[in-house]
Symmetry: C2
Subunit: 990 residues, 2 copies
């Protein structure tokens, strides 16, 4: 290669530093006490997918959509920083940075390492993406942040100090106390808050606050927070310097025309003084960049060099190259006290009538897929660890990457272009496909229980990712020839657990046996025509081929599985076991009966009006709850106009569950399930294709209406964790001017939404992130799906109009989802919300294989728990990460699920015995880490800046937290809402 | 300065050459015999002003108009070239390159010098701009090319080999034989030729030709010429790689999505084969760039690196980094014969009904200003030399720079935006203001004839650049107090010369004396109201203040001046010399007389019909020419519709000249002058403001109509030099499909246009470049002014609608210009066209000063010639450059003014005696140079490539040229149309 004959010519990039005839710029300014210090923070906001896919953004393809090439940003940045050691830059999105980094030569990497070490290049935020704060689940937020933080730590031995959530459309409490404070950030910066809130804060100089977002953890997890006066861009239209930007450059060459130094210095000083007037301390920060800028970094630095030089010659203000770290250290040194902020920053309106709340629901299929994959990843990592992680070959890493990307604020949020949404789904699918093999291999290993460990297992486990559309080839097999279907049911929770499993089967002559060979109760439910039609079209759409097998029934049975383990069920032809057929029952109701219909085989009964074909009442004989309850669908069209539709229903009854099938309208179908062993109703909705032939987009909402006196108040979770009180048409921080009575009261729902009155609590839990509200007292609503015909003018330039195509025929996307509803006596609802919420998040993982005969258990391990068989985790603790690291160490995260005062029994300190969690290994070392596991917790605590809060009265007692882990006892204490992260090392097993 | 603490970190920019994990690209390909060789020629076409001014383009301001920053191009280019020695680039426009170069440190300059020496960076074309080929005068083309070429020679010791006129809108013969062959180019490349011509050439593989553009110089000044198959851009929409371009990049990272190497290689190969199919030899050139590209050069090179790597792996064609020099050397080595092309490439149509001929006239005021400044610069350089050039301080350099810039193909062409046209005018004005001081100082030196040379001359000479609007403060003085007005008249020609001088005076009591104190004949002409109104509004518009002096008359008198010298005339109050008042005569005619009116005090008589108020007949008693002749104005509106208007007239008669004043319509005014001593008519037209209230743009044309049988044939000059035969509705090179009978027959006129029949020749000479034609037999026309209301969709996005504002009130621009008309017996017209043409180009330069009394000649040198007083240049030779170089040497250019066979007497070899041209100095060395004076002529001749021409029958006898200059005799021979360039050294005078 000719290139190997390397040019000996080296160019001293320090072009500006030689004595010469041309201009030198003095960019060396530091902070000057007593002056307004303008911290110029050069940055590029690089969306990890939005109008283009992440790879298109990286390589700079598809530029007709958006001129953006992150490779150019980083390529051009390094020489620009090397050229002048005073220049600074921050880089944020690790998904891009890692793509670039792995392409660099060792020489360049060494230069970059020097830049990072010297602070010229600061890696901040540090997750793979700048995650959204409404749609992602907190576990996903932790995972994606950890992935980025640990990479940075490995490559550069640094830990990001700054949270930089400049673009997400509202800000969650979890972001503040968990993903900022617990990560070890000293500061969280963002830009998008409600315009009314911003106006008040500008007026009162309260854009910078101490945010104490967790009731439970209080001041122990608060974070100093800076809100930009406007956005994350330069202070006015006048300071953009990308190739092609139109701001006037500083023309300081007197030999050329249009010399403009005085005018430009005046522009700078004016903008600085204006910002200083609304900012405490004499430090102000200018975010010098915006989306995908610095594609030729030189263009920005050249102008900033000149500004710093001439503004400081002018002397009215002091301009300097800075980073958020330099900025906050200066702020901190000022020893100012700051206002206190609690709760969160939802919902967000950028101006009147412009609430960003529809996106809580946008792309419900993608949101559902993300949640499913998130749970799968959690389980798959466990199984990967049990098997032993491969140094090379298959792993869960690509699923980890895909999941990390999709947490981006234009990914799971649904605010990206359609082709980009498709790209995320494709990445998840690729990641899943690999993780699926890891899971299958691990289960094969575990079930084959070879004494030599896991060597070449032979069992071929199949899984059913399309079970939601009734498509599961492994279960759709003819068992009449004597084959059995083996179903291994894996439980990723730390608790023992029972749940109803439903799989499609092709005929009714089947029986279910447990791992001991005992026939267990099962129930067949006919696969109705609507489901079949969806199955056929969507399996064709997704797989590119139609299926030739037609299942007739759902087979339901109850599975009971130990914690972090599995149990096995055998399904075989009923002719060999005729005695069990009597247990199957199938009923069909007559439509439009006049009487009241009671549904539910167990404690919970739902009463329907046959005449109105509608739910009327909720009764639980065990808890003595008896409540009027209605449920309906409406849709919002534009800002008003909604329709309540209800057509017909069908009821299926059986020993395990009853199902109420309702055709709400031609494009909404609903199945309500009441299980014998469960005290909640499960509502499965099928919505779509939403018709838009009338030229009107529609946002489909389900409303649950009771006669509870909820007094405008309801509760929604923050990123799946803390529940925050919401009051209709009200904000704690300012006097809300209501101009959008619906959109302005919507909140993100990741775990659930509830309301209460003096006697009871009505809770709804969800299977993915959605938007929810309580627009009327006694009523809760969820927006389930939306299809629009117009763009919202926020940059996407594309209407949210999802379609699915079977060959050339496309129609609006149909989604299937579930929510769960329960009414409890007041004060007793948290247990269900927390425990069942965790079950929703982590459903059973099913793996199928076939066997001749039904003697599986003779040759295989049929039931298994990774934990000590006598041990389960406390009811208030969930294991949210169990992952083998590359080093052979493991990463463990335990989460207390309850807030303080949430539940009488469970809002207490709890303990986990690590020895019983890992009974088969011997722990050699437990290191408690910060949340993102890039530093020891103790180190983080020690260096954390402690910011002063205005008014001591707002102080609260120090939060309770678990004690350090005693290396001998190895017991982890968890206080309410505490999440503790450990790296655990084991003694070698050899 | 902190920057002086220079970073020790140096970055090896050779990022691609280290063994590593990332991709290496093999870009080392050279020419591969037997394959299609695709020469990738990276370039940026940087207009020296167009939509933005030259400085705005350079620094990158005003980006809202166009995203263009040449500083970025050059800044980013150097590291990109250093990074890979196989990469190449050509740079063209020295105006930009010099701006950049003088800002660079010595380190960078050294790197660039290496790049130039190694051929990685090739400086081609090499003038300050890529001059237009229609509107500039050949002297300006030579000057601007010389300025760039000599700078390149000084800085890099290289001489450009390639003519690169890729954007001008048609191509002149002078460009080919003079500005290419005589400059020493081996190849001329351009892109814009008539679409019909191009189609035929593509079809016949004749896009590459030997262009023999000079009848007189023949094969001794022919140039190998390459015409691009389409334009000067990449071969298809698919190969643009600017930041923000939308061509698909080569995505070769298998780890990312959208890998597209095979598709992109196919795109490349297909485009290469398509071009190879219409090109002789297996070498094709791809112009990889376009207007203002490579603002981040890395983006292009990265993609080209990949193409070269993968295309050559593919192997179907061979791709290589190349330059035009490498390309033509490969072409030359192929030893192919090439078709012959004669004449020129005017007019240009880019498609049907899209002739680029209006611009021949666009911005007539700018075109006029350029011509005036060009002549002034020629004279000022002479005077600068006579005085001795200052090493520092005032010089003619900034006028040289301004004149060079304005030769750009979007400058004097008129195809730029209005604000850019204003910028050129401003630069000319600044340059003039400085040159004016040089001229004044030199004349002061020369007139004061101190024996000690020129030390602190005291005479303050003033000049009158606004004489065209009757504004001349130095002559508008009250002489009644006994002061005299001294008028020094400088003649820049090498011939003795007489001409009528006209200056405004405030009253009639004046007399004119020659330098010997003898009263000479003078004539007063009243300053009519139309002129006064224009004088008042335009002097206010240009000077920002109104004048308080009102001249009443033009004073006309005849001046006689030696070659390269001056004479002095004294104007004083007539009361002291009362005897001369009788010589002044002022007549006014009655409008609409019925009889024929004869005008003209000398041989030439113009006959007007009093009734029709129109010219009828042209009679010269000396030459016996007696011809019917009409003259009229029309205007084109859109494609058709014209009006012949004629209102009233006034006749002024006197001993020196008669004037016919005609108010043609409310916005056209015409003065026809017939001088006693001149055998031509001078027509001064005042056109404007062209009304556009009717929403219709208008192109104002004057038509001269005779009854000559011109047989569709007429002649126009090429850039002020060779006359080329034009035949209406006909092209020599292809069968013209006529779709624009007017626009398609227009040609640029710089010197003149003529037609002839068996008996006579009717010639028109112009005072600036205009468009002209002969749309009907016996008729010639010139387009004098145009004002349009719509843009022509060629990029300017602005209608050509020039206005002039007095304070806030703006109206359409009025222009004043002249043309000169003469009818000669056939075969006798060339003398007037050539000799008087040179006088038009170089009018007398007037300088004024005041003196008490009239004894100027007692204390001053009143008459002067730089040449031997017994010597004048031959009638067929003009001195077109006399300029002192920085080194004290001088640059001399002598031009034979006649083509072969043009004039019986003067189309012959002629001689100039250098000793008599420089009688006061002793010549030590005469070095004959190429035209742009960057190399010795002999060296140039030796290395010139000689291209083979198809068919020996097209060969012609070797042209006659002057012999080498004998160093003893120092006589320069000049053959017809020959221009010879010398650097002359003198023995020191000390």
């Amino acid at each position: 290669m000719a290139n190997q004959v390397c040019l000996v010519v080296v160019l001293f990039l320090c072009l500006l530093c030689v004595e010469s005839k041309y201009m030198m710029y003095n960019t060396s300014a530091g902070i000057v006490p007593g002056k307004i210090n303008v911290h110029l923070v050069p940055h590029s906001h690089d969306d990890v997918g939005w109008l283009k896919t992440v790879d298109q953004y990286y390589v700079g393809s598809n530029n007709s959509i958006q001129v953006a090439c992150v490779q150019n940003v980083l390529d051009s940045l390094i020489p620009a920083l090397v050229a002048d050691k005073n220049r600074k830059f921050i880089y944020v999105e690790q998904a891009f940075f890692q793509r670039w980094w792995r392409d660099q030569s060792e020489e360049v990497q060494n230069v970059v390492k020097q830049l990072v070490n010297s602070g010229q290049l600061e890696l901040i935020n540090g997750g793979m993406c700048m995650h959204d704060e409404a749609a992602p689940h907190y576990i996903d937020m932790i995972d994606q942040t950890t992935l980025g933080h640990r990479y940075i730590k490995e490559q550069f031995n640094v830990t990001p100090r700054i949270g930089w959530q400049i673009d997400p459309f509202g800000h969650s409490a979890v972001q503040a106390y968990l993903l900022s404070a617990e990560v070890g950030f000293d500061f969280l910066f963002f830009a998008r808050i409600d315009y009314q809130d911003r106006a008040k804060r500008i007026n009162e100089k309260t854009l910078e606050v101490v945010w104490r977002a967790s009731k439970s953890l209080g001041s122990s997890a608060q974070i100093m927070t800076g809100i930009s006066p406007k956005n994350y861009e330069p202070p006015s239209d006048n300071f953009y310097f990308e190739v092609g930007d139109t701001s006037p450059i500083v023309q300081d060459d007197m030999n050329l025309f249009d010399y403009n130094v005085p005018e430009r210095v005046n522009d700078f000083v004016s903008a600085a003084i204006a910002q200083a007037n609304i900012t405490r301390t004499n430090h102000i920060m200018w975010t010098m960049g915006t989306d995908f800028k610095y594609q030729y970094a030189h263009t920005w630095f050249r102008q900033m060099d000149k500004f710093i030089h001439y503004v400081n010659q002018d002397g009215r203000v002091n301009a300097l190259y800075s980073t958020p770290s330099m900025y906050i250290d200066a702020k901190y040194a000022a020893n100012e006290s700051w206002p206190l902020k609690t709760d969160d920053f939802f919902p967000y309106a950028d101006r009147e009538n412009a609430y960003w709340t529809g996106y809580f629901t946008s792309r419900p299929a993608l949101k559902g897929y993300v949640r499913t994959m998130s749970a799968y990843y959690l389980a798959a990592r466990q199984l990967e660890f049990f098997k032993g992680r491969n140094e090379v070959g298959l792993s869960t890493d690509s699923l980890a990457d895909a999941l990390a990307l999709v947490q981006h604020h234009d990914a799971v949020s649904g605010t990206e272009k359609q082709h980009v949404a498709d790209d995320y789904a494709k990445r998840l699918s690729i990641g899943y496909t690999e993780a699926e093999k890891v899971v299958a291999a691990s289960l094969a290993c575990l079930t084959e229980f070879s004494k030599n460990g896991c060597v070449n297992p032979i069992t071929n486990f199949q899984q059913c990712p399309l079970l939601n559309i009734s498509y599961c080839p492994p279960s759709e097999v003819d068992l009449s020839s004597g084959k059995s279907l083996v179903v291994v049911v894996y439980n990723p929770l730390g608790w023992k657990r029972e749940d109803i499993i439903r799989i499609p089967v092709i005929n009714e002559n089947v029986t279910v046996k447990d791992s001991k060979g005992k026939v267990i109760e099962s129930q067949l439910l006919p696969l109705l025509k609507d489901s079949m039609s969806l199955r056929n079209s969507y399996s064709t759409a997704y797989l590119g081929k139609s299926t030739n097998v037609t299942p007739s029934y759902w087979l339901a049975f109850s599975a009971s599985v130990p914690p972090l383990g599995f149990n096995t069920y055998i399904i075989s032809s009923a002719k060999q076991a005729a005695s069990h057929s009597g247990m199957r029952t199938v009923y069909k109701s007559q439509i439009r009966q006049n009487d009241t219909i009671e549904v539910g085989p167990g404690n919970l009964k739902l009463l329907y009006s046959g005449k109105r074909a509608k739910l009327m009442r909720y009764i639980n004989s065990k808890t003595s709850v008896n409540k009027l309850l209605e449920q309906s669908y409406i849709y919002y069209r534009g800002d008003d106009g909604s329709k309540d539709l209800q057509l017909s229903f069908t009821i299926l009854r059986g020993p395990l569950l009853d199902e109420v099938h309702q055709r709400i309208n031609p494009w909404i179908y609903q199945v309500t399930r009441v299980y014998k062993g469960k005290d909640h109703a499960e509502i499965e909705f099928t919505v779509g294709p939403i018709p838009i032939d009338d030229g009107i987009g529609k946002e489909v909402v389900t409303q649950i209406t009771s006669n509870m006196i909820s007094n405008k108040t309801f509760y929604t979770d923050s990123s799946g964790r803390d529940f925050i009180e919401r009051i209709r048409d009200y904000r704690k921080d300012w006097n809300l001017e209501v101009n959008q009575p619906i959109a302005g009261n919507y909140y993100p729902v990741n775990l659930g939404i509830y309301m209460k009155d003096n006697s009871s609590e009505l809770s709804i839990l969800v299977d993915r992130s959605v938007g929810g509200s309580s627009i009327a007292d006694g009523q809760l609503e969820l927006m389930l799906h939306r299809r629009l015909v117009a763009d919202d003018n926020r940059g996407v330039s594309e209407a949210l109009n999802e379609t699915v195509c079977v060959f050339d025929k496309c129609e609006g996307l149909t989604i299937i989802g579930k929510y769960y509803l329960r009414i409890d006596p007041v004060g007793e609802a948290a247990k269900w919300r927390r425990s069942f919420g965790q079950e929703i998040y982590s459903p059973f993982l099913l793996a199928f294989t076939e066997q001749d005969g039904d003697h599986w258990a003779n040759s295989h391990l049929a039931t298994y728990s990774a934990m000590d068989t006598t041990y389960v985790l406390p009811d208030n603790v969930a294991l949210i990460t169990l992952q083998e690291l590359d080093s052979g160490k493991i990463l463990l995260r335990l989460a207390h699920l309850y807030e303080i005062e949430e539940d009488t029994d469970l809002s207490v300190m709890s303990s986990v015995e690590l020895k019983k969690v890992f009974p088969k290994k011997k722990i050699s070392k437990v290191t408690e880490m910060n949340l993102s596991a890039n530093q020891e917790r103790a180190v983080m605590e020690k260096k954390r800046l402690v910011w002063r809060v205005e008014g001591s009265s707002k102080e609260q007692p120090t939060a309770v937290r678990g004690s350090p882990v005693d290396p001998a006892k190895l017991v982890v204490e968890l206080a309410p809402m505490e999440i503790r992260t450990f790296v655990i090392e084991f003694y070698s097993e050899r």
